[in-house]
Amino acid sequence: MTIWREHLPALLLALPLLGAFAAPVAGHFGSRARNVWFVSITALTALVAWGLWQQVSASGIVVYVMGAEHSRLTLPSGMALPVRILLEVDAMSALMAFMGAIAALAGALFSVRSMERFSGLDQFVALYLLLTAGMLGMEITGDLFNFFVFLEIASVASCGLVAFWRDRPEAVEASFKYMLLSTVGALMVLVAVAFFYGRYNTVAMAGVASHLQLGLAEKAALVFLVSALAMKCGTVPMHMWTPDAYAEAPAGVTCLLVAVSQAALYGLFRVCFTLYGASLGSSAVAWALIIMGLLSMFIGVTMAVIQKDVKRLMAYHSVSQVGYMLLGMGVALLVLSDPQKMAAYGAMALQGAVYHLFNYTMYKGLLFLVAGALAYAAGSRNLNDLGGLGRRMPQTAALFVIAAAAIAGLPPFNGFVSKLMIYESSFAVHPLLPVVAMVTSMLTLASFVKVFQTAFLGPEKAALREVQEVPGFMRGGMALLAVVVLVLSLFPTWSVGSFVEPAARALMDRAAYVGAVLGGGL
């Protein structure tokens, strides 16, 4: 038992990788074997992520060195810096991995039935599991170069999955645009890593963080990393790939892509708080994040209001929701060097951002699955073609209401709590900040009222009289995320105390992150 627990970080990556490479073999034994393999691998990955989170909660940061004599031997033979591939899992990484694994499981359950009409499913499953591995790798790696490698794995798999319906020109175009931006973004990350390696002879995050002194190279690396990661999570004005890619990917994939974009946001958290922390010096990056957050919120939501394609509408809401997290992150970063202000509202802003990230991944994943269910049952994503489906698809309608209420920040749902934390803490910086956030929230509600009214309410349309509720597996995927949303809503103190607060504290405790690797190994 102890041996298994020690290797959980490696297992978390090995499972989806094994799943990906063996998917064509499973497919050789028929679609049932492939589906069992697909769901089993994602379920096991979620279990391992849960086990890892429990381990981190119980005993603090978990470090795992690949190929070392002992898995925790970070500095062999008296070396000053780690040289091997390093996984470092603190409360923030563990939360991200758990959250991502749940989204992957929900997307897999949904895809089992929603994709059965299509061919090429061996490749689909392989790419899906590869994307899961890339996302989890970004979240638990302890070194910058491997962050880049996992980012690339995730990007390549994403491009393949966005263009999965390659007979649709829109899908191929969306994939091409995403590939173009991802390649440039990844190149920027690689250049930043090269700067660090040239300056400090290491790519371990802890090693770089412990020696970092802000010079021209570090500033250039910061600009590259912030720009690339902000693009990857869909920040205005670099958000335009988001509606294209999210709308064209199969719904189960979009659910996972939401979690993958949050892995990029996690990277931004890691760079700002762990790598640079108080060494950031000026407030330029903090204000840049706040401004990009405000722009993302408002532009994202106003674009969403006018959409009639349900998936594009939800994709623009993704842009808008990322804005809340950037606002919370920016406020916390702004006062990071001031312990008094940090205690007064900075820590709350950071907790709000982390909590919103968790909430967003769950309810947005659910919303995309609902959009997929509508397209599956009614054969259209165009809201003009839908109507009166609440009678034909009552369970999907109920799941949509839960997710829509959560994203709109209606009490007593979880979205309200995280937004409240962000409103109140950002008010301390400037009263205009929460005003923009609240206007965004109102427009979000308006937008989802529109979806509910046009898709689920109103008189039945003649073309939709044969529509039936979606199959059980698809409802199962949606229900999994709905249950998480309800748990986060009904037990907010437990959610914040168990998941959010430790994650935010881990981000602020740079010394602990560095010490876990450079503190002497065994």
Partner: protein
């Protein structure tokens, strides 16, 4: 485990809200129970009043399409939307351009 979340400026108590919704729900059902007793489902009492005209068979003919929703809002912000939709051109080169622009602005702010 079930106590309040203190935000530093206020607090959040989900159970107070649930109690409120239960009370409001109770009030709603009480008022509903006071309504007309002669209502019968499935009779002509259920018929939609459509300005005195016969109700069309297909619901499509009597619904407001999604593209017309919030017409007043979008009309009032016509200038904003004109600029915003033109900005979302779908050109990949522009997507890259905005990335370079952000990088340049951030570099100016950070390196200065």
């Amino acid at each position: 485990m079930w106590s309040l979340i203190d935000t530093g400026f206020g607090f959040w108590d989900v159970y107070a809200w649930i109690a409120f919704f239960l009370l409001a729900g109770g009030g709603f059902f009480y008022l509903r129970s006071q309504g007309r007793k002669d209502y019968r489902r499935g009779t002509d009492q259920d018929d939609i009043f459509y300005g005195g005209n016969p109700v069309p068979e297909d619901g499509e003919e009597i619904t407001v399409p999604a593209s017309s929703a919030y017409w007043g809002f979008t009309r009032a912000l016509e200038g904003w939307y004109k600029g915003l939709t033109a900005w979302h051109s779908g050109m990949a080169t522009e997507y890259l351009g905005y990335m370079v622009l952000v990088m340049g602005l951030l570099a100016l702010a950070v390196v200065r």
